[in-house]
Symmetry: C2
Subunit: 315 residues, 2 copies
């Protein structure tokens, strides 16, 4: 069985961590959002890729980013010297960005640097950036256009989002292996990630949406909205300010035509018939990924909902 | 009194640290070599500027580079991940390179980033890069051409040096303030730095040598060679492999026409008449800069030898 997961940051990372406890990690490919990548003091930082790598390596930080127990000697010194220190990067985390940047400057691609980092951390899952090309998210707000991290970290995702702009989308080429991983998978999972700024930009990379629409795989999305709130991040606020209802149903409607099955949390069971009315199957299961056991349970629940058992056989 | 010091790394840094104990730091300008600058994992590192800044701030590392008592969390992680870790950069040191790089990427110059770092560390001496342009040293060896740090750090300055190449020299423009600092000084000191790879490239920046040759200042060089050996670094090996005698006299001969006075160490007193035969004054004083007191003593000795007292009055 081949499983491909379309992934944002921490929600996807936790789902993937559960999945690799249930199936052979080498059967899993994660296609990661890069539209919140940033250049930090000259270094290329890929927050979603790093959340996925650190989490799969069992080293994720307490808050879902960075390396667990990391120190901040560099950042403290940067702040003491009057530098911009609003984006928190720990010391061990920094080594990741240095390695990536060095590789990119030596002519390597983001795909290659990601593979090297995965190898170095003993990650068995194939982790791919959706594209090796620049493909940033611009957040349109009443105060003007902001880069994703300026909005999300510096301004703590405050203020209404009026829309999004993806100026690199048309020119972004899918990274090597991305379309194949979608086209040849037995199961594609859209992770419980933000539909606007994590999954949205993935689908905008030319070829990705169409390949998913045409895929022979069983296609499943897991709701990032549980009980009318986002488990993590600004998805709920974005839904609200963009005029959507804050619910798993609103997310499901965004994935119409792209998934066969929408998995929502048991607390949202009442929405099942409305989701089905969108033209997709729907199932309610426990989707809360608390602890290793919770992550594993969610992975098992999603696999079962999709009709597979842990050996990849149709259940 | 205005004093301008042509500076390499640690020898110059220690001399400057002594000098600022004797005269008003704001009367001192250090013009720093940048030909051993390197790009390290995407970050702009200026080892000589940093040695000068850290030393003037009283924070220099035990070996003459980096920040005293610095940790190496980032470098250890980089090594653990299989990255290139032969160039030792500590955590607090790294913050310097991040700040410099961010400023350069934002359109700032090396002059501006150096001034900002000096301010942040409370350094009163004006520290200038000799040029804001790329001006690297290439070391010609039997094994081929090497970048300076590849030769000096990675290969520990092993192997005979056949010569030097400065491919950026002709296009390098003196940084703002450099020619004026030489032209308007009352005293110019060529610090006890390597004549080939520290002072040499400074003098190759168009306008610098001529401005020094024409300067109205009293011009003094301090020998980096004491008793036939370099106090620090590869100067002695370079003199030998390039066919020079390893002596203060050989260094003096390289500065003919550029200095009025050559200061050598008391142990080399026997060379005084030969140095004078090159057409410059010569004086033997204690030049060993051990501890704060040693640095201060050398600064006083050089000032006195040049004919100034600590108030800048002709003694």
């Amino acid at each position: 069985m081949k499983i491909t997961v379309l992934a944002g940051g921490i929600g996807a990372a936790r789902f993937l961590a559960g999945l690799q406890r249930v199936v052979d990690p080498t059967s899993i490919t994660a296609i990661c959002n890069v539209s919140d990548d940033l250049t930090w003091h000259g270094l290329h930082v890929s927050p979603d890729i790093d959340s996925v790598l650190y989490t799969l390596a069992g080293e994720e930080g307490e808050h879902g980013w960075g390396v667990r127990g990391d120190t901040t000697v560099v950042l403290d010194e940067l702040r003491a010297l009057g530098g911009d220190a609003w984006f928190t990067i720990g010391d061990r985390d920094l080594a990741t960005h240095l390695l990536r940047t060095a590789r990119l400057l030596n002519g390597g691609t983001l795909t290659e640097s990601t593979a090297a980092l995965a190898r170095a951390r003993g990650v068995g899952v194939t982790v791919l950036p959706v594209t090796d090309d620049p493909h940033p998210t611009i957040i349109r707000t009443a105060e003007g256009d902001l880069s994703f991290q300026d909005y999300f970290v510096r301004r703590r995702a405050q203020g209404d989002v009026l829309g999004f702009d993806f100026p690199g989308a048309d020119a972004a080429r899918p990274a090597p292996g991305v379309l194949r991983a979608i086209g040849e998978a037995d199961l594609v999972v859209i992770a419980p990630s933000n539909p606007f700024v994590s999954i949205g930009p993935l689908l905008l990379v030319p070829g990705v949406r169409q390949t998913l629409a045409d895929a022979h795989a069983r296609r499943v999305a897991v709701s990032p909205i549980v009980g009318g709130a986002a488990v993590k991040g600004p998805a709920a606020d974005m839904l609200r300010s963009l005029g959507h209802e804050v619910s798993a149903l609103a997310v499901a409607s965004l994935y119409r035509g792209l998934v066969d099955l929408f998995v929502l949390d048991a607390v949202d069971e009442a929405l099942l018939s409305e989701v089905r009315a969108l033209g997709m199957d729907a199932l309610a299961v426990d989707t809360m990924m608390t602890g290793d056991e919770g992550r594993e349970r969610v992975a098992r629940n999603v696999l079962a909902a999709a009709g597979f058992d842990a050996d990849g056989l149709p259940a």
